[in-house]
């Protein structure tokens, strides 16, 4: 009879999830019931086997370094130091921006405008995620080439549109390669450019497939990244990276001129 009472709770006991009073009572039962004691031992044995077997995979040192670098890099961007907050030169523009944002919020209102901002922020957050995840990846680009005549044809058959890329000789920018990416379930192209050790992502998507395209234009500051966005020939371009706003603008101009 006692066994029947406890049989359904042996897993809870083995997992350390039984209430203290029940645990003490079950322990007393186990001292007098060999069958239940063996059953518990059996369960504990299986737990130990799974515990040992489950610790199977170890990450590579390379992956660890990449993640640590990403985290540290973001910390450096986000964590304000005492000097920065103490500097009025830095703080003043931020305060002006804050007042401007509050005033804008007051005049525009909170309803529809708030939802528009949230949607816009969502798109840029997704792009920032894609950019960070791509750079942290072991294989940031699927086609590795600095030659636009190699990169552009590689996308044929992989995305439902084509685009033009600029000639770069004489500029500070270099093309590292590209990959297929997705935004809101829309396939597009992601190109990685470099300028003075800063990587910049250029995303290209067919505009009609994107949500609320009119909200996406213009430069914004997304999670410390500088961005630029415009529409050309039915395609929506996003340029995003930790390079300076001037570099982002310069690369955007090269892409616009090529398109």
């Amino acid at each position: 009879m006692a066994c029947e009472q406890w049989r359904g709770k042996l897993d809870l006991y083995s997992d350390g999830e039984l209430a203290p009073a029940d645990e003490a009572a079950l322990r007393a039962h186990l001292n007098s019931c060999a069958a239940c004691a063996v059953d518990v031992l059996d369960r504990v044995q299986l737990k130990r086997s799974v515990h040992a077997a489950g610790k199977r995979y170890e990450p590579s040192a390379r992956l660890r370094a990449q993640i640590a670098k990403t985290v540290a890099k973001t910390n450096a961007k986000k964590a304000p130091s005492a000097n920065v907050w103490g500097s009025r030169i830095i703080f003043l523009p931020a305060a002006v921006m804050l007042i401007f944002a509050l005033a804008l919020n007051f005049y525009v209102g909170r309803g529809y405008a708030g939802r528009e901002r949230a949607a816009r922020q969502h798109v840029y957050s997704e792009l920032a995620d894609l950019h960070v995840a791509t750079l942290a990846s072991a294989t940031p680009v699927d086609v590795i080439s600095s030659d636009k005549h190699t990169v552009k044809p590689w996308f044929q058959g992989k995305i439902p549109f084509t685009f033009n890329l600029p000639e770069l000789p004489g500029s500070e920018f270099s093309l590292l390669g590209g990959r297929v990416t997705y935004l809101e379930q829309t396939p597009g192209a992601q190109l990685i450019y470099q300028v003075r050790k800063h990587e910049i992502s250029v995303f290209i998507f067919p505009e009609p497939a994107l949500p609320m395209p009119s909200l996406l234009a213009g430069p914004v500051n997304a999670l410390s990244f500088n961005t630029e966005s415009w529409t050309q020939n039915g395609l929506r371009y996003f340029v995003l990276g930790d390079a300076s706003a001037d570099d982002i603008r310069a690369l955007s101009k090269l892409l616009r001129d090529a398109g």
């Binding site: 997992d15 086997s49 610790k55 995979y57 985290v71 995840a133 942290a136």
Partner: protein, 181 residues
């Protein structure tokens, strides 16, 4: 907008998240069954967690939060994949009664590490993930409930069924090996 001082700081993200790196990778590798995919999944998890850390509620379980991000990212990356659990399996929230010890269960005790790993990999994903969270990550039922987004009662019943399924596979493999000799 005022930034509250008790909001989690970016520097504390590193302190909280980096110690979880090895175990998150192990879990990702078990889920994906592929090294490159697991690496991408862990990277995506950290990128998303970094972005969302400002909205992470202090005082709630950070580990469960990270695992939930990883699991959701995994489900998103496998377009269309949902961890489907047969309804009848979750309807009965009672834990299955213990089964008496049999010669087979003694044999299971003799199963080596490789056999258990093989059986774990063979398990349906909803059984594999809950066993890993409970036995490898040593999460409480409450943590598992928060990670998987299921009630604590379902955690108990699913765990019980997962163990039963694992035993079944181990017995099957052991018997297969025995007959093969």
């Amino acid at each position: 907008m005022r930034v509250s001082e008790d909001r989690p700081s970016a520097s504390s993200f590193e302190d909280l998240a980096m110690p979880l790196f090895d175990q998150l990778y192990n879990f990702a590798r078990w889920l994906t069954q592929d090294t490159a995919e697991a690496e991408d999944l862990v990277q995506e998890t950290y990128a998303k967690a970094l972005r969302g850390f400002g909205s992470f509620q202090q005082g709630t379980n950070f580990r469960a939060w990270m695992y939930r991000i990883l699991r959701n990212s995994f489900l998103s990356s496998r377009a269309g994949l949902k961890i489907v659990v047969p309804l009848d399996e979750e309807e009965n929230e009672n834990i299955l009664p213990a089964e008496s010890t049999t010669p087979e269960s003694i044999l299971i005790g003799e199963a080596n590490r490789e056999m258990v790993q093989h059986a774990l990999a063979e398990l349906p994903i909803h059984f594999r993930e809950i066993l890993l969270l409970c036995e490898v990550e040593e999460m409480s039922y409450q943590e598992i409930s928060a990670t998987l987004g299921i009630p604590a009662g379902t955690v108990m019943s699913r765990l019980s069924r997962a163990r039963k399924a694992l035993r079944g596979l181990l017995q099957q493999n052991l018997e297969g090996g025995r007959h093969g000799v």
